[in-house]
Symmetry: C2
Subunit: 476 residues, 2 copies
């Protein structure tokens, strides 16, 4: 009986590390050459460790080998990779992260790459395609049947976030005029059914989808029943150009395991499974988290300093520009600050809380947009609500910061300016927090990308402007 997989996986990682360690110890001894007479013995021990390691790797699921490869430093990673059986290369390449995949592919020659790709289904080759050298892809193409070439070309042609890029081609189809008995006989001719086959696709002679025949119904129904009578004639279907996000929502909402993908004429062109959808959800979430922090792509723990630094530059550059702008806004009021230096100590409070409050609003708007909950009918209510919250928060927190300023500098007017600036900047934050993501959405851009930078730029510059402006008017 297998244990919970997570603990076994940690166990495997430990064993692999240990074997690698012992292996490297022996290697070090051999290279030191300080016991030349024992060469033969050591070389045997050495080989034995590698054999043990190889044996261990052979027993692991490809996803687990991928995990181990990701966790090892580059030199050990390549050593383990060389021990993996050639016929498993393809499935493991599919599982590793982008950064590690690049490194492994760079380490393989074209012959090995072609062999690895040929082990895979066409939809899987399509996933690897962007990372494979051009001549390797040409060789792979040549090795495929005409139908497979067509599938591969189709799969490559869709953008990453379209259903077409996630679908596979392992459909089992039946006709609606046969009985379940015939279906059962037909299925028995397979060695095994494709993974995630929870239903057969019912198609006509032209390949148009007429319904879905859940395997469960095949099993519980009388074998004499015709397919048409037990099939679901209104299944959820997808089109290859549909957004993967929408498909993920549908899989979640309707608890799907697999669904047909059809073209405009309802002809079956592929299959979408929950496994592909789960992969997509997890990768999309991961990418979103990275993007929120301004990382353009994932970084392998062992990526080089140079490569990692460049990955982070775009964001830092953008933020530097907005910081320069904010700095020049403050510069407008140098005369005021020279007279009341307390302003310099207090101004970051107004800007900072404005940014925090605005980011709360933006996060809720982005979420509601993603869930499709913002309509023309309720947008007005939303604005009113957020402005109401800002006014309430402005009065509450504005009073707190006003008191803070008053107690520090014993100046009532300074306290009042703080309070006023806080109220105004929170209103600015609410408006910017609503309209920045809405405008990006209307322009067809992903509001999760960049809304936060634009928002902070607004609340910083406006916060400094409002506070120092009010101070110039009322305190000088």
């Amino acid at each position: 009986m297998a244990q919970t997989e997570n603990s076994t996986l940690q166990e495997s990682l430990k064993q692999v590390s240990e074997l690698l360690h012992r292996h490297q110890l022996v290697e070090t001894l051999i290279h030191r050459q300080d016991m030349p007479r024992h060469d033969l013995v050591e070389s045997l021990v050495h080989k034995q460790h590698l054999a043990e390691l190889q044996n261990k790797l052979d027993q692991l699921h490809p996803a687990d080998v991928a995990y181990i490869l990701e966790t090892l430093p580059p030199d050990q990673r390549l050593m383990v990779w060389d021990l993996v059986k050639a016929e498993r290369d393809g499935e493991i390449l599919l599982e590793v992260s982008d950064a590690v995949r690049e490194a492994l592919i760079a380490h393989m020659d074209s012959h090995e790459l072609v062999a690895a790709a040929e082990q895979l289904d066409t939809d899987e080759i399509a996933d690897l395609a962007p990372d494979l050298p051009r001549e390797v892809m040409a060789d792979v193409f040549r090795s495929l049947s005409a139908e497979e070439r067509e599938q591969l070309r189709a799969a490559i042609s869709y953008p990453e976030d379209a259903v077409g890029a996630l679908m596979d081609f392992e459909m089992v189809t039946v006709r609606e005029d046969v009985t379940l008995e015939v279906v059962l006989r037909y299925l028995r001719r397979f060695d095994e059914l494709p993974d995630h086959t929870d239903a057969l696709f019912v198609v006509d002679r032209e390949g148009r989808v007429h319904g879905l025949l859940p395997l469960n119904r095949v099993l519980v129904s009388d074998p004499k029943t015709p397919v048409a009578q037990v099939m679901n004639p209104q299944p959820t279907v997808f089109h290859p150009e549909d957004k993967a996000d929408a498909a993920a929502t549908a899989f979640d909402r309707y608890d799907l395991v697999s669904a047909p993908v059809v073209d405009a004429t309802q002809k079956l062109v592929g299959r979408l499974t929950v496994a592909a959808v789960v992969d997509y959800i997890r990768e999309a979430t991961d990418a979103e988290m990275l993007n929120l922090a301004g990382l353009r792509e994932e970084e392998d723990i062992f990526s080089s300093v140079w490569k990692s630094a460049r990955n982070r530059w775009l964001w830092l550059a953008v933020n530097l520009v907005t910081a320069f702008v904010a700095s020049r806004v403050i510069g407008l009021f140098e005369g005021t600050i020279e007279k009341i230096v307390a302003l310099a100590t207090l101004m970051p409070i107004i800007a900072g809380i404005g940014g925090n409050s605005g980011n709360q609003t933006t996060t809720l708007i982005i979420r509601s947009l993603a869930l499709g909950q913002i309509t023309a009918a309720n947008a007005g209510k939303l604005v009113t609500k957020e402005l109401g919250i800002s006014l309430l928060n402005g009065v509450v927190w504005g009073t707190v910061v006003g008191l803070f300023a008053f107690l520090l500098y014993r100046n009532v007017n300074l306290g009042l300016v703080m309070t006023g600036a806080m109220v105004l900047n929170l209103l600015v934050a609410a408006l910017a927090g609503i309209f920045i993501p809405l405008v990006m959405y209307k322009l067809g851009r992903d509001p999760a990308l960049g809304s936060s930078v634009l928002l902070t730029a607004t609340t910083d510059s406006m916060g400094f402007f409002i506070f120092l402006g009010l101070a110039t008017v009322f305190l000088l």
Copy 2:
């Protein structure tokens, strides 16, 4: 043939809104009483709209009704809710968001709530339990069989993020010594199999799991084969106390559809399905996004201003405290700023870029911790790498901001102080970005919660301190 679900759903929403609108128009007319003679006619039209609406709702999937309820303002929401058939109340309550569920439950009397709960499976009742009044739960308990009570008690007892809280109890079990023919006959006695039954659980007389019999193999194998010969004797199993996160990773990694949940003696206690896992992933991601912005719980678009404001206070209060600290750090250097007012305009740049850079590091560390990629062996490399990146970025961006300061104020020393402060604060940011999430993780807390506030507090205060301190030493 159903279209892609997303467009049909938008269509449904539009129809419901239209019917509601027409209904309200008639209501307004009736209430105005300006055409008393037409009362009867209007009341008929009125009824007709409601009947049409009810008919439309009856055809929708519970998840779609839930979506419509979430999108409608509170008054229309309750009107639609009253039109939903009582026997669908339970399944729809399961699908709506927490905020909307609370509102709907508050609107129902105990009798209706007990009736709704009784429509559900025990694991589903457990999901609703936290929101149901005590006396309703007592009534529900009384209506259950002894076995169901036991299941409900078990399901309620696990924390939200444990496998036990996600599992259901719809297992179909077989013995290993029978043939597939017997299995097929046994299955045919069911009216239908539970959703997501991709495999039968092979158990012994004591209920201990011996293996998994995929339905696919039942279909393709010779009916005379004994179960023991085709079952998978080493299935992935979970324990009720396992973390849901680990289970989600396993489902993703091994492409599972359903898996047995067993106790310490390997006895079957429940079943985990990919549908529950997908729900969990999407809810956990959503909660993480909200928490990143300092929102304690989700907010319904139509939540009251007062309730929403309180939801956001904790975060604003924490940030206010850190802003006060940063403000006092600047206060230490008021004398310096009085002499060189340019420092006030430049200091937010040092603090801001430090915060951005540190957040990039923290995000990568949190991600690597979640993927289990940080080990004692590679932690050292990680620190070296991040410090290297910071040094490189410090020199690059430090030179840029140094030049900016020099060009603005024609002061070489001021430029050099900017550059030096940038290098130092980016090093601080890298160290804080690594150690804050690591320490939180070691203390058993979720590093995604609060790391970012602590980090920004550090980079702000240290940024001001380093920059103004260097200026005091070298420029006065």
